[in-house]
Every structure is written in C-alpha cells, then in structure tokens.
C-alpha cells in the first residue's frame, strides 16, 4: 500500500511541475469544489488573517504611533525584552495560572469523565447538560455571582454568620480566587475532550488488562491514559490556550491583585494608547501559544493512538 502511494506521487510530481503555472491555476479554478470554497476562503482571509496581519504589522510600528505599514521599528520588542521591563511578571503569572489550571482540571475532570463514560449510564447525558448549562450564561455574570457568594456579608459569609459559625475566610481578591475562577470557567473545555478521549478506550481493553492481573492503578497507567491521550492532550491544550488569555477572573475575582498578560495587552490598547506595544505583546503571546500547539501536535500521532495503523 505505502509502496503504491510512493510510486503515484513520484509519477505524478514531474507531470504537475511541467504544466505552466497559469494552466495549473486554471485547472484548479475549474474544479467546482475550489470555486465553491472561495467565499469561505475569502471570509477566513478577511476575518481571520487580516486582523493577525494587522497586529503583526502594528508590532513593528514606532511606539505610540499609528504608522502601520509606513515605518519599521523593533523598539516595541526591544522595550518588552529590556531587563527593567516588568512585563515578564504578567507573562509568568499567566503561564503559571494556565499550567496550574490545566493540571488541576486534568485531575478534577478525569474522574467525572470516567464516570460519564463508564459508570453513569443513561445519567451521563444529564451530567453533561449540567456542565454545559453554565456556558449559556455570560462568563462575567457567573464570575460576579461568585463575588456575591464570597464577598463580605455575601451568601457564604452571611449564612455562616447567621448560623453562628463566625464569618467565612477572606478568599476574594487573591490569586487563589483567580485560580478557582479559572478552574470553574474552563472545566467544560477539559471535561468534554477528556470524555471523548476516554470513550475511545474500548471496554474490552480495560477488562482484558484487569483479567491479565492489572489493578486499578495499573489499568489507568498502562491502558486508559495512553489510549485517552488524544483527548487529554486536546483538553489540556484547549484549557491552556484559553487560560493563558484569561483576564476576567483576574479582574473580577482577583480584584486585579495580579496583572495577567491579556490585561497588559488591554491596557496598552486602551489607557496607554500604545497599539504597537500591545501588538508586540499579542504577537509574543500568539507565537508562544502557536509554538506550544505545534509541539503538542507533533507529538500527538492521532492515527497511531487511535490504532488506525
């Protein structure tokens, strides 16, 4: 099979190379599928690529100017990388929060996902609805809800006082509150890929592993985790990428006790009116996330993990 494939490619390539570019383009254009795809391609280019290009171009404009495409400067990057700039702190906080959120979510979601796939039976759809439902309410509204819950004389504190148990501990406006908010917000984004990943583990394999002497932990380590790995990795990547861009949790639950990287970008684009600097920051974040995504997908051999080859 693979031999046959190589031969076709080898035979096909020179022929394609011989055809003039215009003819090949015309042939491509003649394909109905290509013509039908044009609106989508245009839309993608306008809606997805254009903003990215604009941000990229802005990051090379002189600081605090709007001379995009007209002047070139590395001053923004120089400023971000200068030793006395403290923006790395925001980066560190964002990456730290994202890593811890990811790790906590993996630990929290795994048992839930396991239950949904193997234990809950017909209740599992109800459980998924329960986890999906909050997504219909705006994130900020939900976070303000938590503020009302934890705030002094709020739901928790007030109830405890009413019960004569003293007040609730002060958790609001701390990094811990931010982390809790992020874990809460991004749970579905870890849970569902994980559920999908676990549902790809055939029940037989778990039975077989147990039958061959494996205990619960060994089954988990040797069979479940490797086979659910595509789901685990996708869930982790998704939550990591979302969490690194998170800003509402730090603002609302954290009372800005911590400035995260998205907040820095926001300040650059608003109060500071330093679009080039904000763009340079955005480019750095995008590059970081892009590199991470590529690294993960390079390791993630979906076909092999799914047993297709």
């Amino acid at each position: 099979m693979s031999n046959a494939m190589t031969e076709t490619t080898l035979a096909g390539a020179p022929e394609a190379a011989r055809a003039p570019l215009s003819a090949r383009f015309a042939a491509l254009w003649a394909a109905a599928g290509v013509r039908c795809a044009v609106p989508v391609v245009v839309l993608l280019a306008a809606g997805f690529l254009a903003p990215l290009i604009a941000i990229f171009a802005y990051s090379f404009a002189p600081p605090r100017s709007f001379d995009v495409f007209r002047a070139f400067s590395l001053a923004n990057y120089a400023e971000l990388f200068s030793p006395d700039n403290t923006v790395w702190l925001s980066f560190a906080w964002s990456i730290g929060f994202a890593l811890v959120t990811c790790a906590l979510l993996a630990v929290i979601s795994y048992p839930i996902a396991y239950g949904m796939v193997f234990l809950f039976g017909r209740w599992s759809s109800l459980v998924s609805v329960l986890f999906v439902f909050p997504l219909f309410v705006s994130e900020n509204v939900r976070l303000y809800g938590w503020v009302l819950f934890f705030i002094k004389n709020g739901v928790l504190d007030g109830s405890l006082k009413w019960l004569g148990l003293g007040g609730a501990p002060e958790v609001l406006y701390t990094p811990g509150a931010i982390l809790a908010g992020m874990v809460y917000t991004y749970l579905p984004f870890m849970l569902f890929p994980l559920t999908l990943g676990l549902s790809m583990v055939p029940r037989d394999l778990i039975d077989a592993a147990r039958d061959l002497g494996a205990n619960r932990f060994q089954i988990w380590r040797e069979v479940e985790v490797p086979l659910a790995m595509p789901g685990i990795l996708i869930g982790m990547l998704l939550t990591f990428v979302l969490a690194i861009g998170a800003v509402s949790e730090a603002k609302i639950l954290g009372g800005q006790s911590v400035i995260v990287i998205s907040h820095d970008i926001e300040i650059a684009f608003t109060y500071a009116q330093n679009w080039p600097l904000g763009s340079a920051l955005a480019v750095l974040v995008t590059a970081f996330i892009g590199a991470l995504t590529l690294a993960v997908f390079a390791r993630l051999d979906l076909d092999r993990l799914l047993g297709r080859r």
Partner: protein
C-alpha cells in the same frame, strides 16, 4: 463599460485596502447617503435606548452609538481613520480644544444656533464657556451636558465626610487604611489621583524627582489596595464592607449605589490640595463635538439640539449605568423634572461647593511615562 476580470480584481483590491485601512466596516456607509444615519462615539449613557429610541422614532433614523470608557481610545479611533465613520464624539473637556480641533478631527458648530443653549445652563457654563471654545475664542467646538466632581469615594459611616474632606488625599498615605481601600480601574484618572496623593499637581510637566515620588506612591498605594475593579465591583465592595473608600471616584461612579439606597456612600472633594490655587478636587465636563466627517450626517446637529431639551437632558442625567448632574439643570423647566431622590443620588446638596473646590480635568503632558510607571507598579503588587 466592459466588465472584465481585471476590473473586478482591481475593485476587489481597492475594497480590500479600504477594509484594511479602517478596522471598522465604515467604508460602506461613507459612500451611501447619510440623511438617515447617525453614528455616535460616546461615554455610556448616550448609547442607551431611553435616549436614542425617541430620536430614532422621531426621525426614522438608524442611530448607532458605541460607548467606550476612556477618552484616549476614542480620540485614537478618529486618528486611525474613523473620522469617516462617526458623526458625533463625546469626550471630556480638554480634548476638543487642545487636541481634536488642532488635529482637525472635529469641526466647529454654528455659534449663532448653539450658543443660546449655554445661556440656559448652570451659571458656570455661561457663554463663551472655555472648554466649548477653541483657543482663539472664536469657534464653538461642542456642547456641554454631563459633568461632575471626581476625586474619591468614601463610606461616610466609616470615615465621616468632614474628616474625609479635611484629610483629603492623605487618606491614601495613611498606613492604617492599607487593605481598606479599593482602586477604580480607570487608569487615566488614577494617574491624576496618584500624583495628587504624592502631593504633586498632575497637570504639568514633571521633574524626575516628582516622577520618582510618583512611582513610590503608585507602588505603595497599589500594594495597599484591597482590590482594583470596575464601578460595579467598587460599589459592591463598599456596600458589603470589604472596603471603606476607593480612589478616583465621584458622583459618576457612586451615584448608582446612592440611588440604590446607600446614601452613606459619597463622592468627596477635598478642601485643599496641590493643584492650581491650592484646590483639592478634579472635575470633568463632557463636550460633544461634530466629527470632521467628509459625509457628516445632517442629523448630528439635530441630535445635539435634541439632547438640550429639558426632558431629554433629564433622561441623559439618569440614563442607565451612572447618574450625573447636567448643565441644563440651570433651566427651571429641566430642574423641576428631578425628584428629591434623584437630587440626592447626584449629591446636588454639595454640588456647587464641590465644583468650586475643583480644577478641571486637563491633559497630563507626560501621561505616557506616568501610566507606564503606574502599570508596572500594579504588576508588582501581587
């Protein structure tokens, strides 16, 4: 004209460039007739349905209003090429005469039509009103409506009004109050506030020593803050008792809490401070101007007249979100529309004396540097 692929491609390229030039899809409306279109860039309130719907109905107009919560962003939108999108821009006092008119981002109003409205306003807005005029004093650049003192907010049950006014900004230098105050996240105002807390007049060029003092103050004040957040977060924290006071605030931010039955929350204007004339407070006055739009909508002027009507002015004062005094309260026809509770919410009782203790919002010459210092100070608080 023959239509061939080349001409279509040229057209597409031009369209693409137009799209790239203006992030907002205003290019289309610029080419259309604008009789029934009106686009407003403003602080929140003017974009509310209460204000816009009667106007839409009366003129059969399509009115689009976008609200932003800081001046520099709005002005930079015009600088970035959106002058052909917007018809009206509503920002605080200094920008029209000091920045937008010199940069030709706005155009003057016909004086004979609009100056008479100033006659009916509160006494301090009598024509020619400084912030509505250009530097030469010949051109009328905009109309005034909402205004207010804006220094800091205190829960008078915890710190009484007299003490707060007397101690003034030094409250934030008091180590005993660390952890008891919040900071509203309007960073431009925080730059002013922190300068004043440092005992420095914000509205001038600063020496390196002053900047160092500013940095020290910024780090200390941010470190001592219980939380930083938006207006809702501040009021919530005040009411719940998480904080006793918060930096940069006034009628604009505290009026929703006062209207909700918490009159002990109060915008404070200190008796004295480092600003010109020893004044201790800062006030803002909104100026709404005609954008220098090549296809300016004729409805722009109509709208400016519309909001001067007593009923509409009252609606603007109590539009959703925040409640503010309006200049039209100088007109008895307008003033009588305000109930006792509404006057209470906007601190009418002390408005005149508070305003007398204030300098007016101005541009900080070295704002960029100060903001960078402040952002860095925020970052290291965690």
């Amino acid at each position: 004209m023959t239509m061939n692929r080349r001409s279509v491609l040229k057209g597409m390229a031009a369209g693409g460039l137009a799209l790239a030039a203006s992030p907002f899809a205003g290019a289309r409306s610029a080419f259309a007739a604008r009789e029934k279109d009106l686009n407003i860039l403003c602080w929140e309130g003017y974009n509310s349905a209460q204000v816009l719907d009667p106007f839409r109905k009366a003129h059969g107009a399509t009115v689009k209003a976008e609200s932003l919560t800081n001046d520099p962003t709005m002005i930079n939108r015009l600088r970035a090429g959106e002058t052909n999108v917007w018809d009206l821009i509503n920002v605080n006092n200094p920008w029209a005469r000091k920045v937008m008119y010199p940069e030709k981002l706005i155009r003057p109003l016909p004086r004979e039509t609009f100056e008479p409205y100033f006659d009916k306003m509160l006494p301090q807005f009598k024509p020619p009103y400084k912030w509505a005029m250009d530097d030469s004093g010949t051109e009328l650049l905009g109309m005034c409506q909402r205004f207010g003192p804006y220094s800091f907010v205190v829960n008078t049950k915890k710190i009484d009004r007299k003490t707060a006014e007397d101690v003034g900004w030094d409250l934030f230098n008091d180590p005993k109050l660390a952890g008891r105050y919040g900071i509203l996240e309007s960073d431009d105002w925080n730059v002013f506030g922190l300068f004043v807390v440092a005992g420095i007049d914000p509205f001038k060029k600063h020496t390196p020593d002053e900047m160092a003092k500013f940095e020290e103050t910024a780090k200390r004040v941010f470190k001592g803050a219980k939380l930083i957040g938006d207006i809702a977060a501040m009021n919530q924290a005040l009411i719940s008792g998480e904080i006793d006071l918060h930096l940069t605030g006034g009628t604009y931010s505290v009026s929703p809490a006062r209207a909700d039955g918490y009159p002990e929350m109060r915008g404070i204007t200190p008796l004295r401070g480092p600003m010109a004339g020893g004044k201790g407070g800062i006030a803002w006055i909104e100026v709404t101007s005609l954008v220098n739009n090549p296809q300016l909508s004729p409805l722009a002027e109509t709208f400016l007249k519309y909001v001067q009507q007593p009923e509409v002015a009252h609606t603007v004062a109590f539009a959703e979100g925040t409640y503010n005094p309006v200049t039209q309260m100088g007109n008895p026809d307008c003033f009588k529309l305000f109930t006792k509770t509404e006057l209470e919410a906007i601190q009418w009782d002390s408005l005149e004396e508070d305003m007398a203790r204030c300098v007016e919002y101005d541009i900080v010459p070295d704002y960029d540097q100060a903001l960078d210092i402040m952002t860095a100070a925020k970052r290291v608080r965690g």
